[in-house]
């Protein structure tokens, strides 16, 4: 990807001490041809709290998956309390004392709290096929008491609010191994535990972690750097699948963590940006106070002809669903989306982020995939399909977008990710849309095809189209956009001009996304309470 260098050798400097709880030794992992982890090495001391930070797609979740048996260890070595460890299932990991609190809640609302706390361990309370409820309740009460959570364990978990259920889940992960399984020093993986909590709930969460500190080894992922610095002993930074730093929490501050997370270099030329920005074009899209329950609220902005407007934000900031709403793929609850001088469906192109699920039909050939979006012009008299015209469209697209294929009859499943993405773009490009909405257009695309896709988007804007680009890739967001919008918790919180000579800094944008009180943040919105069960 980008030519970056590792800042540290990654050799754990605590190797001399008694065996660390977890030790990664040059762990690498790839999904198909795409590398997600490269040579990651670090250790977590027993009983300590480790923070794991990095951008979306940096490899944090994959690391957790390997540790909890959900992804195989492909190369490198993993040691648990000094012994080799390669769990083949989540159950195996749990039995070794590694448990995980997922981003989505895993408690079953209809079951009483005590059954939830002891789930998977019921057989330890059975005799001759009968379950000893009283013993289960007593054990569950011990867990709740130890964590100082005030609940009646006989009531259904669903009776308690989100924050209590999450506290229960964390307590289960930290205490059930020692109180039920008799495992000393369990390891608990927390994946963005505070992303759905309000401010006071967050405070309660940190008090809980304070009480549990020392009872378990905790590894946790978070986008909120201040919170990482508050509770972690050490912070490990991942960037593009590589470990860029392992620091003691006292040795770094937020701005240095920012730099370690996102800092990288890539020239303007890479994004083929013109020096004169096309933002002076008449608006092709005007969005006025659109809202969608559980996704985004009262968002207003516009996109001009020839302009690329980027939208950044954290995973659940609402940016992707805003894109879907603008494209007309998802309904809105209020507000208005106006496309200059045309009916919405025919003038707006949408390139989804989930290419294989929503973008292309792998079993169909290129011609058919392009034909899907052009049914109107490919339907002849009496409803007959103009297959020859479809083939001609595909041939034209293959030529103009430089799709590497044997011809229009090649099955899309056999193309590379980048060429598949070009097919999705081609479906719309052949009908000259006024507005293109693209969601992570280069996700899972190799470097070469990535540059080509940037060139294609630039060419479309040269022809007068406007582009709304949702992206999790910061360099792309900054490099390609003429203007950058930042969303946080369903709100549009900032807008930054991004002309060639005056690009916004990655650190500033990240601060806006996370909601840090950065000096240049113009206004802080009140926190939005996300609805429970909000779609990912």
């Amino acid at each position: 990807m980008s030519g970056l260098e590792r800042l540290t050798g990654g050799r754990p400097d605590e190797a001399a001490r008694p065996a660390p709880a977890i030790e990664f030794r040059s762990v690498s992992h790839r999904y198909g041809r795409i590398p997600v982890l490269a040579d990651v090495a670090f250790a977590v001391a027993a009983g300590s709290v480790a923070g794991l930070i990095g951008e979306n797609g940096a490899g944090k979740t994959t690391l957790f998956n390997i540790l909890s048996g959900l992804a195989p260890l492909q190369s490198g070595a993993l040691r648990l309390r000094g012994a080799a460890f390669a769990p083949r299932s989540y159950r195996e990991a749990v039995e070794a004392g590694v448990s995980r609190v997922f981003q989505e809640q895993a408690l079953i609302p209809a079951l009483p709290v005590y059954e939830n706390l002891l789930i998977g361990q019921e057989h330890r309370f059975e005799r001759a096929g009968f379950r000893n409820r009283r013993a289960m309740i007593a054990r569950a009460e011990a867990i709740a008491h130890e964590a100082e959570i005030d609940v009646d364990v006989r009531r259904p978990a669903g009776d308690y609010p989100f924050s209590v259920r999450q506290a229960l889940e964390i307590a289960r992960a930290c205490l059930a191994p020692s109180l039920v399984l008799g495992i000393e020093n369990p390891i608990v993986l927390l994946d963005e535990p505070t992303s759905a909590l309000s401010v006071d709930e967050e405070a309660a969460f940190f008090r809980l972690l304070g009480r549990l500190k020392g009872r378990a080894t905790l590894v946790f992922v978070s986008h909120r750097l201040n919170e990482v610095l508050k509770i972690a002993d050490r912070v490990h930074v991942l960037k593009d699948g590589r470990l860029t730093a392992s620091r003691r929490a006292g040795e770094v501050d937020e701005s240095e963590l920012h730099r370690l997370m996102v800092g990288r270099e890539r020239g303007v030329a890479y994004y083929r940006q013109r020096t004169r920005v096309g933002a002076d074009g008449a608006p092709v899209l005007a969005v006025r106070k659109v809202s969608r329950a559980g996704a985004f609220r009262e968002v207003s902005f516009s996109v001009g002809a020839g302009e690329i407007v980027g939208v950044g934000g954290l995973l659940r900031s609402g940016k992707s669903r805003l894109g879907r709403a603008v494209a007309g793929v998802e309904a809105i609850d209020g507000g208005a989306v106006e496309i200059a001088g045309a009916a919405r469906r025919s003038a707006v192109a949408y390139v989804p982020s989930e290419r294989t699920r929503e973008g292309v039909i792998g079993a169909f050939d290129i011609a058919r995939n392009i034909g899907l979006g052009n049914a109107g012009r490919l339907t002849g008299r009496l409803g007959f399909w103009r297959a020859r015209r479809e083939t001609a469209l595909a041939e034209e697209a293959i030529r103009t977008l430089d799709i590497r294929a044997s011809g229009p009859a090649q099955r899309v499943a056999t193309l590379s990710g980048g060429n598949q993405q070009k097919v999705v773009i081609a479906r719309w490009a052949v009908r000259k849309p006024r507005l293109l909405v693209v969601d992570n257009p280069t996700r899972g695309v190799d470097a070469g095809a990535r540059a080509e896709i940037y060139a294609i988007l630039r060419r479309l804007t040269d022809q007068g189209a406007g582009v709304l680009m949702i992206s999790d890739d910061l360099p792309e967001l900054i490099g390609l956009s003429d203007r950058v919008l930042v969303m946080r918790e369903g709100r549009l919180v900032a807008e930054r001009a991004a002309p060639v000579e005056r690009k916004p800094q990655e650190e500033d944008l990240v601060a806006l996304m996370i909601g840090l009180p950065a000096a240049d943040a113009p206004h802080r919105e009140p926190r939005l309470q996300p609805a429970e069960g909000m779609a990912p």
Binding site: V360, I361, F364, D365, L372, A375, L378, T379, L382, R411
Partner: protein, 324 residues
């Protein structure tokens, strides 16, 4: 595939070809076996009988194939045939419609399909559940109309439409079935309707996001399925000389069996109307041959069930072929 290791070693392309030709091989194999087992099998008379028997099934399967290509299922075909057969005979007797009774079957079938389609597409209920329910409703209504008895008709024109022979040795019902088959092969492969139905089956989300009117075409597919079942119902009654409670009774198993044996995947997007002809032939030859060999009807059910499962086993794995 583990059962046939050699098969796995073939190149994907060869494998796809092998799968595509499998039904043809089965037809030849079955015909050969029954020919050896019974002198009566390879006779013109028997060929005529097979053609007549297969016709109702083929017509009913044509529309249902679209529903299955779309990734849905229509369990109500047998019941639709029963109800449309009963109503067209009753209408014929009441109003002396003659050949026009087929139009009654067609119209009523389309209406029943519309009900299925609307509930499925707009109620967002799985098609399996919707058509399971309407299967019961349609056959209940039909049995009430017939009062549990067979109702015969007297109309030489209507009878001739089914069992007459404009082409010698080929019953008209078979001629009509083949003509409809040819027409719907064209519909499947060369029209907007066919294209969109295949796209929905292969990738509904992709189709919707590409801007295709997915819900509307789901309804259309069920209307086509119902309309063709309606034609099959009327013609079946015409062939049998009456509409009775057992009309269409074996169609649920036979239609799904024929479509799947032909190579259309129940998960949608793969297969096609052209292949359903082979599936229908296999079912019809199996029925006819087992009869000639004197196999009792219960054993026939066992054999047919096993053949259907084997067909699905042989056809599973990667997509058999992309539609042409």
């Amino acid at each position: 595939m583990t059962a046939v290791p050699a098969f796995r070693d073939l190149s994907p392309r060869l494998r796809a070809h092998a799968r595509a030709w499998l039904p043809v091989a089965v037809v030849v194999l079955l015909a050969g076996a029954f020919g050896v087992g019974s002198d009566a099998f390879f006779t013109l008379r028997n060929a005529t009988a097979i053609a007549a028997q297969a016709s109702t099934l083929l017509i009913a399967c044509l529309g249902a194939t679209f529903v299955i290509v779309m990734g849905s299922i229509d369990l109500s075909i047998g019941a639709t045939v029963l109800l449309t057969g009963a109503v067209s005979v009753l209408a014929l007797n009441a109003f002396g419609l003659g050949v026009g009774a087929v139009a009654v079957g067609l119209g009523l079938g389309a209406a029943l399909g519309l009900v299925n389609g609307l509930v499925f597409a707009f109620g967002r209920i799985p098609s399996f559940v919707v058509t399971l329910g309407t299967m019961s409703v349609f056959s209940g209504v039909a049995l009430r109309l017939l009062d549990g008895r067979a109702v015969s008709y007297r109309s030489p024109a209507f009878e001739a439409l089914a069992i007459g022979q404009w082409i010698p040795r080929l019953p008209n019902i078979a001629l009509i079935a083949l003509a409809l088959w040819a027409a719907f092969v064209v519909v499947a492969n060369h029209t907007r309707f066919g294209r969109i139905v295949f796209a929905i089956g292969a990738g509904e989300d992709v189709a919707r996001i590409a801007g295709l009117p997915v819900r509307r075409y789901k309804v259309y597919a069920f209307v086509v399925s119902g309309a063709l079942a309606g034609v099959a119902g009327a013609l079946a009654a015409a062939r049998l000389g009456a509409a009775g409670p057992t009309l269409g009774g074996d169609l649920l198993l036979n239609s799904l069996g024929a479509i799947v044996i032909g190579g259309t995947s129940l998960s949608g997007g793969v297969g096609g109307v052209h292949r359903t002809l082979l599936g229908v032939l296999i079912i019809a030859i199996l029925d006819d041959g087992l009869n000639l060999l004197g196999t009792d009807p219960y054993t026939q059910l066992v054999v047919k069930g096993i053949v259907i499962i084997l067909a699905v086993l042989a056809g599973r794995g990667e997509a058999v072929e992309t539609p042409k």
